[in-house]
Symmetry: C2
Subunit: 357 residues, 2 copies
DNA sequence: CTGTTAGCGCTTTCAC
DNA sequence: GTGAAAGCGCTAACAG
């Protein structure tokens, strides 16, 4: 992590001459057109002859002209910025999503304004402040519910909303089918012969969220095979490894502990594994465990999981943003990406002496 | 991860009346002063009577006035934005750093512009583009070297640079002492009686970096106790778990494998552990292993490591930004934060039959 | 299809 | 200590 001046770089960086700033007017002159025409040509508006536009574009390219977002915005144009709103940053899911969003938005020459909105106060602050001065052209909310009032407020300012990793009927979104993911977990566990399957349900205490499909899928799968859900086998906690470990302790403290555990995320699952091991039990011999995500460390832990395409959700959401910004009317409003079971070595049939059926 | 309109929220969001936008002139009128005075008062410049300033501030507060960054910048002021440049986003270290930076910068009413600069092309793009139009007031580079030319280019535009998680003599920085961290690892391992200590050295292939203190500390510690470094015991790889696993394979393929392994990061260490286990060996009985970071999952894996205060590095760097922006001259230009060894259960004395001394 | 013109909301000289 | 006025660089009506 050392930082030092590296002298043997492979590119030259021309020194800027601050005294000679390059404005649109310069490009216009170089192309032999008026300022207005240059503006139209660059912004891709209609009503410019193809040859003229080409000339302007060439001149701009030649002089490596970069427009001033400030001036553009002030004059009523777009800001060239999009806000990405995330409830967490350091967790893998959110970081990966950010990386994906950033990658395609930057490609489209849009700047990314990061908004970390943890609790309710941040959230309120965000939705009160942002619209006040149109700082962005669109906002992407990552796994984060937006109220209708909030949406309308933004819409009033001409700011679009797109959701990544979550769903809503009102604005475009891309997500996975959480209930289907839960069912993939359950199908695997049931097929292996497990009957006492616990669930470590994760919820974010700071975010008001509807009951997740990851939970409903569990109950649905159980009911379908005629197993009555046992409340003792469901424990709710925050996302995160330590919390998973604690939740697992509770599951080990009941009269008839489960033979298999379904955790809402890999991180939670990894925490649960620690508790199991500390109890002197083995995975998967004594207890099977499955997570959701396919976190990079899951493969290193040999954790069976359901993979969700996080990066792809991000890029897809970003493309939704671009399409919306372009004013495309026939935008695909809902994209649901497929998940898949990844079988590794944290699952096995239950020990014969522990089978309950 | 479901997103839905939540109706029972605990705050009211007033609908914006887009037709009545609030400008500085309105605040000025309300305070009974001229536009110029209002501007001066708000920007905290000298030459305004204390009472006048108070009146303006009150009016602004009352009307919950928010300045337009666009107009401010256009007129020669600050942008109210700072760029954060990171080579990765989804890795824990960088996400945590971002979270910390964001937290204090937002507190100071600055917006965070995220720049993911992966390879050389991105980097070039960044340093060519950003200065062209002053989009930000300062840039924070996270674990990322900046060339002198690049720095000067930014300085010319009045943009400050601050480094987080890396060091440089020219601009303010905050980091840890990598060499010291390495020595903490080595002291622990040597004290336990290990002599054949391997190092899995991690480097980012996309970033031109000076040899890390994490490596030099290893060699220094070895030499100090009179152990001749064995080239076979050092393997270099990319950061990341899979890479750590592969590196460990190589260490297991030499004539005399190590009794202990020092990995440059916890993620690398976790990968290495998988390889060790798959080889039928046990940690720490057969091989001890130590990482650096204290990644949240490290405690779940029971990994001995050297903790570095990532979040604190971020907040400190952000405060450096604020001080610099405030024009403070006597800014602490270099902050080096302490690291500490966290002993868990991945280290133990070497097996007597494997000791080589 | 292209050029002219009037601001966008603020900061900053300048006078007073 | 305060006010008046001149832009910052661009877009969006308008004319032509």
């Amino acid at each position: 992590m050392q930082i030092a001046s590296v002298s043997d770089r492979c590119y030259r960086l021309p020194m800027v001459d601050t005294s000679a700033k390059l404005n649109l007017i310069d490009v216009a002159r170089a192309a032999g057109v008026s300022l207005a025409t240059a503006s139209r040509a660059l912004s891709g508006a209609y009503g410019v002859a193809a040859t003229t536009r080409a000339r302007v574009l060439a001149a701009a390219e030649e002089m490596s002209y970069v427009a001033s977002p400030e001036a553009a915005r002030l004059a009523g144009g777009a800001t060239g910025r999009v806000a990405v709103v995330v409830p967490h940053i350091s967790r893998w899911f959110f970081g990966t999503m950010l990386e994906a969003l950033d990658s395609v938005l930057r490609e489209a020459d849009l700047d990314v304004l990061l908004y970390h909105v943890g609790g309710l106060d941040d959230r309120r602050e965000f939705f009160e402040r942002l619209p006040a001065r149109r700082k962005v052209d669109a906002v992407v909310v990552v796994a984060f519910p937006v109220e209708e009032v909030e949406r309308q407020r933004l819409a009033l300012m001409g700011v679009q909303i797109i959701a990544a990793g979550g769903q809503n009927a009102v604005y475009p979104y891309v997500c996975i089918d959480d209930a289907a993911a839960a069912r993939q977990v359950m199908a695997h566990l049931l097929f292996l012969g497990h009957r006492r399957i616990a669930m470590i349900e994760a919820i974010d205490p700071d975010q008001p969220t509807r009951p997740s499909g990851r939970s409903s899928g569990y109950y649905a799968a159980l009911r379908e095979v005629g197993i009555e859900p046992d409340p003792d086998l469901v424990v709710t906690t925050d996302w995160g490894g330590e919390q998973g470990a604690q939740a697992m302790s509770r599951l080990l403290s009941i009269a008839h502990p489960p033979t298999a555990v379904y955790a809402h995320s890999d991180e939670v699952a990894i925490g649960a594994i620690r508790t199991i091991r500390r109890a002197g039990l083995r995975v998967p011999d004594d207890i099977s465990i499955v997570g959701i995500d396919d976190h990079p460390l899951a493969s290193l832990i040999d954790l069976t999981t359901v993979r969700q395409p996080v990066y792809e959700q991000g890029t897809t959401a970003a493309h939704l943003v671009l399409a919306t910004l372009r004013g495309e009317v026939d935008v695909e409003r809902a994209v649901v990406l497929a998940t898949e079971l990844v079988v590794r070595r944290s699952t096995a049939p239950p020990r014969p002496d522990r089978r309950t059926d």
